[in-house]
């Protein structure tokens, strides 16, 4: 494993999540940011870099930093969808390595459930070639990928359902999770059809919520009370915007982002103790596991069978209950980082993965468009 310890996640927190009527996205981010700073043992004045992503303002960094009363010396509004926050962690680590700043605040907030933002653009530009056909997005795009994977490899709806069922089991161990009832494979297979082959229980939740992550230099991190969670590797990429332009519907750019993250960390797939993998839909997870190299192309269905990713299984994944069962406020990536950090600190009580030392965090954004992979290590 790479010995360099340059930057670490030192504080994490969610805001209220679920249904939060009356609160706006700035309140949720402020709440999460304050809690994350408390978690880290830092104050607002320690923050010198600001990262956020959202479509609730024309320049979200300006509005958020003003609201929080922060004048940063480094700012980054990279928005590549749900994987933005894994990219932010990579960028923060790079900025710290370059000596540009010492403490970065990364936030996200959304009122997707109670007050969805309706960002409309003057012109749809390249979306003009897809909008007239009425495909519901994003789910329809993921359905196209699932259909192709089934055709190419014989993947089944039962195998996709394994992911939803295993993830729900984790949610039942997380008091913050939105979904509270257990489900069986049959429940997934009998849930309402949305876009073939995907059914309702193949799809993530739509909730409100926010989160914050504090990244700090080794110098700062080593002085804090909690043990730092080191950023060991990072990679990012995007392969397309519209689904018709995805080069191969069964392979995501996780192949590239994951490869770079593993190389940077100097570790291999079999060394990962816990995986937090964006689960906008069950098929998202299956494609990602293959593209990251946890199994071969086409073997994702077999890989997740037998509740392998559930509590007690030999591949603990999405241990907070995931976007499928814990929360999913639009761009979920920040919550993957929060959970991985808590697992590596050993803070997860009944859902704690024993002896978790290395975590893989992987975000996917758009319609399987962007990916960003982060490998984290306990102290």
């Amino acid at each position: 494993m790479k010995s360099d310890r340059i930057a670490a996640i030192v504080g994490v927190a969610e805001s209220d999540i679920g249904k939060i009527p009356g609160k706006n996205v700035l309140q949720l981010q402020a709440q999460a940011a304050k809690s994350a700073l408390e978690d880290a043992g830092l104050t607002k004045n320690d923050i010198d870099a600001v990262f956020t992503a959202g479509n609730w303002a024309w320049a979200p960094n300006l509005m958020l930093a003003e609201y929080l009363g922060i004048q940063p010396k480094f700012t980054d509004s990279t928005n590549i969808g749900g994987s933005s926050f894994e990219a932010h962690v990579g960028h923060a680590a790079a900025g710290i390595e370059a000596g540009l700043f010492e403490v970065a605040l990364i936030t996200y907030g959304s009122t997707n459930r109670t007050n969805p933002s309706n960002s409309t653009f003057k012109s749809p530009l390249t979306a003009q070639y897809e909008l007239p056909y009425g495909l519901p997005t994003p789910v329809g795009a993921y359905a196209l990928a699932a259909m192709r994977h089934m055709h190419q490899y014989g993947t089944t709806s039962e195998q996709l359902a394994e992911i939803a069922v295993a993830t729900r089991k984790w949610a039942l161990l997380n008091e913050k999770a939105y979904m509270k009832e257990p489900i069986e494979i049959e429940d997934v297979l009998n849930s309402r059809k949305i876009a073939d082959p995907l059914r309702l229980l193949d799809c993530c939740l739509v909730t409100d919520g926010g989160g914050a992550v504090i990244v700090a230099s080794k110098n700062v991190a080593s002085k804090l009370n909690k043990k730092p969670v080191w950023i060991l590797g990072h990679g990012e990429s995007h392969s397309h915007n519209t689904i018709a332009n995805m080069p191969d519907l069964t392979v995501t750019s996780a192949r590239e982002s994951g490869k770079r993250a593993f190389e940077m960390a100097g570790i291999t797939q079999d060394e990962i103790d816990v995986a937090e993998i964006y689960d906008s839909f069950t098929i998202t997870v299956l494609l990602t596991l293959e593209s990251l190299g946890f199994c071969k192309p086409g073997e994702g269905g077999a890989f997740v069978s037998g509740q392998r990713t559930a509590p007690g299984g030999d591949f603990p994944m999405n241990t907070n209950g995931g976007g499928l069962s814990y929360c999913h406020p639009g761009m979920y990536g920040i919550f993957l980082l929060i959970e991985a950090t808590r697992q590596l600190r050993g803070e997860c009580s009944s859902r704690q993965v024993e002896n978790a030392k290395l975590a893989l965090v992987h975000g996917t954004g758009g319609v399987l468009s962007s990916t960003s992979t982060v490998i984290l290590g306990g102290d």
Binding site: Q128, Y129, P136, D196
Partner: protein
Amino acid sequence: MIKDLIHSAFDEESKPFWDGLMNEKLLIQYCSDCHQYIFYPRTICPHCFSEDISWQESCGNGRIYSYTVVHQAFGQFKGDTPFVVGIIELDEGVRMMSRIIGDKEQIAIDQPVSVVFAKVENELVLPYFQVT
């Protein structure tokens, strides 16, 4: 109206494509430098950055690369369900999204399809496909 969703994007880059459909022609582009077809329309080749691009009429034949039967749709498409949206790979090698019409029992990945010019509104023709 479907056209309301997209007409603000009609410009010098895309207008020949939409005008072509009104005349029952499926127009795609061809790069004279790297000899590859291009879809959607651009003024620069995404393969080699050449600007030596010309419009060509597609043969209108291809195969289904993937498809989905939509059971829950939004906005003005809500009442159309169930309907089939697919990605078609044209014989020229480019892919495009489309509706696949006709007998659903015949629709399958890799099935050959050909274009059907569907006048969905007074001023809008869309290139739908059906199994041949």
